[in-house]
C-alpha cells in the first residue's frame, strides 16, 4: 500500500514539474495607443536589456504581433516566472485610413497602414485563440474604460479562462483616472503605471509574478 502511495506521489511530482516548466506566453492586449509597445519595450529592457519594437503617436504603429522569448521576471518574495512577451496590434472594431491622414500620412500610405492594421487585429485575435496563456490588458487611464471593445475583449479573455492583469497606463498625465478602470473591472487586479516614466512598474512585476505563475 505504502509503495502504491509513494509511486503515485512520484508520478504526480513528475507531472507537476513537467507542466510547471512549461513557459507561458503572455500577450499584451488593449486598444490602439494605450502604450502596449512602450510597456513591452520596458519589460524587455528591464529584464534582458533589449527592445521589442518602435513606438509612435500614430495609432496602429504595431501591425504585426512581436514576440520576445525567455524573459525571467522576479518578484520581491522570490517568485520568479519565465515568459514570452507578445506585443500585439491594438484591437479595435473599426479601422479607417482617414484617421491616419490627420497625422500627415499620404492617402496611399494610410490605406496600406489600415489594411496592415486590420490583418494585425485578425492575427492578434488568432494568437488569443490558440497560443496565449495569460493577458496583460492595457488601458489608457485618461480614456473611458467602458468602450465596447474593452468590455468585449475582457469578456473573451474571461470566457477562455486566461489569467489577466489590467494595467491602467499613463498615470503621469494630469487627467488620468485609474480609479475609473478599477471600478469598471473590479473582478481583476488593476495596476496603475506609467510605462513611459516607469512609475509603479515594480508593482506590475510583482503582480505578474503572482498571476502568471
Amino acid at each position: 500500500m505504502n509503495f502504491l502511495i509513494r509511486a503515485k506521489l512520484t508520478v504526480s511530482n513528475l507531472f507537476h514539474a513537467f507542466f510547471h516548466k512549461k513557459k507561458s506566453k503572455i500577450g499584451i492586449y488593449g486598444p490602439p495607443n494605450a502604450g502596449k509597445t512602450t510597456l513591452a519595450n520596458r519589460i524587455v529592457r528591464d529584464w534582458t536589456g533589449d527592445a521589442i519594437g518602435p513606438v509612435s503617436e500614430i495609432p496602429h504603429e504595431t501591425r504585426r504581433a512581436r514576440r520576445k522569448e525567455n524573459i525571467t521576471i522576479s518578484g520581491s518574495n522570490g517568485n520568479s516566472i519565465t515568459i514570452d512577451i507578445v506585443d500585439t496590434p491594438g484591437v479595435t472594431t473599426k479601422i479607417d485610413y482617414n484617421e491616419f491622414l490627420e497625422y500627415g500620412l499620404e492617402k496611399d500610405e494610410a490605406v496600406i497602414r489600415a489594411r496592415e492594421a486590420t490583418e494585425g487585429v485578425a492575427e492578434a485575435m488568432h494568437w488569443l485563440r490558440d497560443d496565449i496563456d495569460g493577458v496583460i490588458y492595457m488601458l489608457d487611464s485618461t480614456q473611458d474604460p467602458f468602450m465596447q471593445v474593452n468590455i468585449m475583449m475582457i469578456g473573451i479573455i474571461e470566457s477562455r479562462k486566461l489569467p489577466v492583469v489590467i494595467v491602467a497606463n499613463k498615470i503621469d498625465l494630469p487627467d488620468a483616472a485609474p480609479q475609473r478602470i478599477r471600478s469598471a473591472f473590479p473582478q481583476h487586479p488593476v495596476v496603475p503605471i506609467s510605462g513611459m516614466e516607469g512609475d509603479n512598474i515594480e508593482m506590475l512585476y510583482e503582480k505578474m509574478a503572482e498571476t502568471f505563475r
Binding site: 484591437v91 479595435t92 472594431t93 473599426k94 479601422i95 479607417d96 485610413y97 482617414n98 494610410a110 490605406v111 489600415a114 489594411r115 486590420t118 487585429v121 485578425a122 485575435m125 488568432h126 488569443l128 485563440r129 490558440d130 467602458f146 465596447q148 471593445v149 468590455i151 468585449m152 475583449m153 469578456g155 473573451i156
Partner: protein
C-alpha cells in the same frame, strides 16, 4: 394618482416599483405623476404628455440608469450584432474596415464582407482545416 410614461403613455399605479427599471413597454425613462382629473386628457383631448406636464405644473420624473444596467444593455446589443453578422471583417471601402472581434476570437473560418450589405467573400480553405481542440 398614477404615473404615466411620457414616451408611450402607459400608466402605472402610484408607488409602482416597476417603473424603476424604465417602462417595460417602450423602455422610456421619464414618467409624469398625473392627477385623476387630467388622467385621460392625453387620449380624450389629444394633448401630449409635455402639454399635460405644463398644465398640471408637475415635473417629469426621470429614472436614472445605473452604469451596470447600461453596460449590460451594451453587451446584449453587441452579442446580437455579432450573431447577425456572418463576417469577421467587413471592407466598407479600400482602407476602411469593420472588425468583428468576437467572431475573430471564436472562429477559425474567415468570412469577409464587402460594402454596406450583401457581398461576401468566403475563405473555403479556412473552413476545411481541422479545428483545434479547446
Amino acid at each position: 394618482m398614477p404615473h404615466k410614461c411620457t414616451k408611450c403613455g402607459r400608466e402605472f399605479e402610484d408607488g409602482s416599483t416597476e417603473i424603476l427599471r424604465g417602462c417595460p413597454s417602450c423602455g422610456g425613462k421619464k414618467f409624469l405623476y398625473i392627477g385623476e382629473s387630467k388622467r385621460h386628457d392625453d387620449v380624450l383631448e389629444g394633448k401630449t404628455i409635455e402639454e399635460l406636464a405644463a398644465e398640471t405644473g408637475t415635473e417629469e420624473m426621470e429614472v436614472a440608469e445605473t452604469p451596470s444596467q447600461s453596460r449590460k444593455k451594451e453587451e446584449v446589443r453587441d452579442r446580437i450584432d455579432c450573431y447577425e453578422q456572418v463576417e469577421a471583417i467587413r471592407i466598407l471601402e479600400p482602407g476602411t474596415y469593420e472588425l468583428n472581434i468576437e467572431k475573430l476570437a471564436r472562429d477559425e473560418e474567415m468570412v469577409v464582407g464587402f460594402g454596406k450589405e450583401g457581398k461576401y467573400f468566403v475563405d473555403i480553405f479556412s473552413m476545411g482545416k481541422h479545428k483545434k481542440k479547446q
